[in-house]
């Protein structure tokens, strides 16, 4: 089946920006340009999509999500996660290994990929564990994980505390050119904290997680990347200190990439004041000064990508007392409008915002995604950047609704999502 997306503003970051048509044949981008003429033979079974007034961009690539399967299917399954992803414009999703069992071996990776294939919709790229069981002691069989299809390794929510183990993992991963992703948190400094340590936590009597908990691990990881030459990817930066350290590392030519989550540049720890655990995530929401630093980091490319850290939890889990509830919020279906707020604010141009959702993350993990280049997979998203709407979690495609953005009036909507030439979200 062929598809012609006609008359939209095509933004393929760094490659093409202007009015034009995108022609898809057999699931691949066939041509891109103004007023494409379609050969008679291609007219058969041609779907024509009118994209006038819309932006046509590569499908988004999320380097950081939790799809919860296997093990926590009451929160999300690969199928519901993929539906949620494409509803948010994400056509490629990298899923973290903190499932049950942990994705620390080939069998789990293969299971995830087979479920992803059944679910269809989004492309799923598993991230393998760094250590067995993510226990931080013995290396997982990283070569096997790579062979089975893992695109990076991480112990995400259970960061490797032992610096020697982390060093060895970084050295070993180079045999497969795998990026090593770290959730930078010193668990000793976090010490059971459940929100940012600052004036708000002092007022609420809530155990705090200091900025230093992230900063010391960012610094450690950068030092180890310098020592080993490994590809280091820093997950969900939240502090001014880690932005500063990353900026300096990049200036020194150390191979590091970094991501930020929309909630960290959209909210501060003030959101925890009503004690609802939808404002609880790790790393926690920080101060206004940190938010500013994150925006500066995005603007000067210290921060390469925007990732969701989509972390679904069931209602009853998030209804628990703040300190007892699990960390994390859903993110796929709110990421684009929250990113558009940065465009409105002038932090990023629309093209650069799209870049941080597409080509930049694809580059960080060497995925052949996030582009409309001729010959590439036809993963495309149609966006209406000026469409205003109100966030209503009951409309989410995710199995979970744990978001702090309920009722927000936002701008920027995903109209249609196409994966490999097939419409997977939005009406025909």
């Amino acid at each position: 089946m062929n598809m012609l997306i006609r008359g939209g503003t095509v933004i393929d970051p760094g490659q093409f920006h202007g009015l034009g048509d995108v022609f898809i044949r057999a699931g691949k981008i066939e041509a891109i340009g103004e007023h494409l003429s379609i050969a008679e033979s291609d007219m058969v079974e041609l779907t024509i999509i009118d994209a006038q007034g819309l932006v046509v961009a590569p499908g988004f690539v999320d380097l950081h999500a939790h799809l919860r399967e296997p093990g926590f299917e009451h929160k999300e399954t690969i199928e519901t996660g993929a539906s949620s992803a494409v509803a948010g414009g994400f056509t490629s999703v990298c899923c973290m290994p903190n499932t049950s069992p942990v994705n620390d071996n080939q069998a789990v990776t293969e299971f995830i990929l087979s479920r992803a294939k059944q679910a269809g919709k989004a492309n799923i790229f598993p991230i393998g564990a760094i250590t067995k069981g993510s226990e931080g002691v013995e290396l997982a069989e990283i070569g096997d994980l790579f062979a089975a299809g893992c695109v990076a390794i991480s112990d995400d929510g259970r960061p490797v505390m032992n610096s020697q183990v982390m060093r060895r993992a970084m050295e070993y991963a180079q045999a497969f050119d795998l990026p090593v992703v770290d959730h930078c948190e010193c668990l000793h400094l976090s010490d059971g904290g459940c929100m940012n340590e600052g004036f708000v936590s002092t007022e609420l009597g809530m155990p705090g997680i200091p900025n230093a908990s992230e900063d010391v691990m960012v610094a450690r990881n950068i030092a180890l990347a310098e020592l080993t030459g490994a590809r280091l990817h820093l997950a969900h930066l939240s502090t001014a200190g880690s932005v500063r350290l990353t900026r300096q590392a990049k200036a020194n030519g150390i191979p590091v990439t970094a991501e930020v989550c929309p909630h960290h540049f959209s909210l501060t720890d003030e959101a925890a004041r009503d004690f609802h655990a939808n404002a609880k995530m790790s790393p926690p929401l920080r101060s206004a000064a940190d938010v500013e630093a994150l925006k500066e980091g995005l603007a000067d490319d210290t921060i390469d990508t925007i990732a969701t850290d989509h972390a679904p939890h069931a209602i009853q889990e998030k209804q628990m007392e703040f300190d007892k509830a699990p960390f994390g919020i859903v993110g796929f279906e709110t990421a684009f409008p929250l990113t558009m707020a940065l465009v409105e604010e002038g932090v990023l141009s629309l093209e650069r915002a799209i870049e941080k959702l597409t080509s930049a993350p694809a580059r960080a993990f060497s995925l052949k995604k996030g582009t409309l280049a001729v010959g590439s997979d036809a993963d495309v998203v149609l966006l209406d950047p000026s469409h205003s709407w109100v966030i209503d979690p009951t409309q989410f495609h995710s199995k979970s609704q744990n978001t702090p953005f309920t009722g927000w009036n936002v701008k920027g909507k995903v109209i249609k999502t196409i994966v490999a030439g097939t419409i997977v979200y939005g009406s025909d």
Partner: protein
Amino acid sequence: MGLKTKDLLGVSSLTSDEIRLILETSESFKEVSGREIKKVPALRGKTVVNLFFEPSTRTRTSFELAAKRLSADVINFSPSTSSIVKGETLLDTARNIESMQADIIVLRHSSPGAAETLAKGVRSSVINAGDGWHEHPTQALLDLFTIKERKPNIEGLTVTIVGDIAHSRVARSNIFALTKLGATVRLVAPPTMIPLHVDRFGVSVFSSLDAGLEGADVIIMLRLQLERLGRAFFPSIREYARLYCLTMDRMKRAKPDVMIMHPGPLNRGVEIAPEIADSQSAVILDQVANGVAVRMGLMYLLSGSGQA
């Protein structure tokens, strides 16, 4: 005039007028406890549930006594953590209790914000009897009440709070209450026990006990939670006592008529020298007696009786 809200969740949300109203109302109830028949019918037919998720004898007893002296029916519900089956949320437990037509739920819980979460989910009035490190508003109110008995004008008093400020709901509620009424508040603790940016409450912070006691009108000693030992907050009880125990010698730096307070239970010889606890300056037992009066006054106001 009554209270604006159905609940008492913390001092931080009270206005200074509301604090004064509670204190004034409590005064008339103090007299009741001195009578031979210590009972008034104000809450007859009402049900008060003490829902204590943390062990506490004195606070629970004080609430129980207060409710009984108001003629309310009192139920004590103390689910031990082990009996809270996994999956039943605080809200579910509370809704069960509400179904028994509880008018007032008194909640003690280890999680900050537990009382607020509960109050949003039930129609009953909720009184926070301590939520984690967050607030313990009735303790602060009874402390104010006790101070006023000897020093009626709180405005302008210098009150020094000594001990583990970071992990103390008593400290937080007292800081809010005292600053709202115009007292000068000083905090004394090793820097490990001072929470971040606490100076933004308009208090001054000392690591030296001697300096913090200079000219004080009131000294509130906090109980040292011995379980903090071994977690790098302080090296040893011996050193803590050497640096932060209130002794006769140190007390001389405060005003001659200084009042010594402590929310109990005391660690004699750790944060407070025994001879001080037993001295004329100490009002520790007055605090206990006043606790009943203040809780009576508060429940009376929350039960709607104050709005008639």
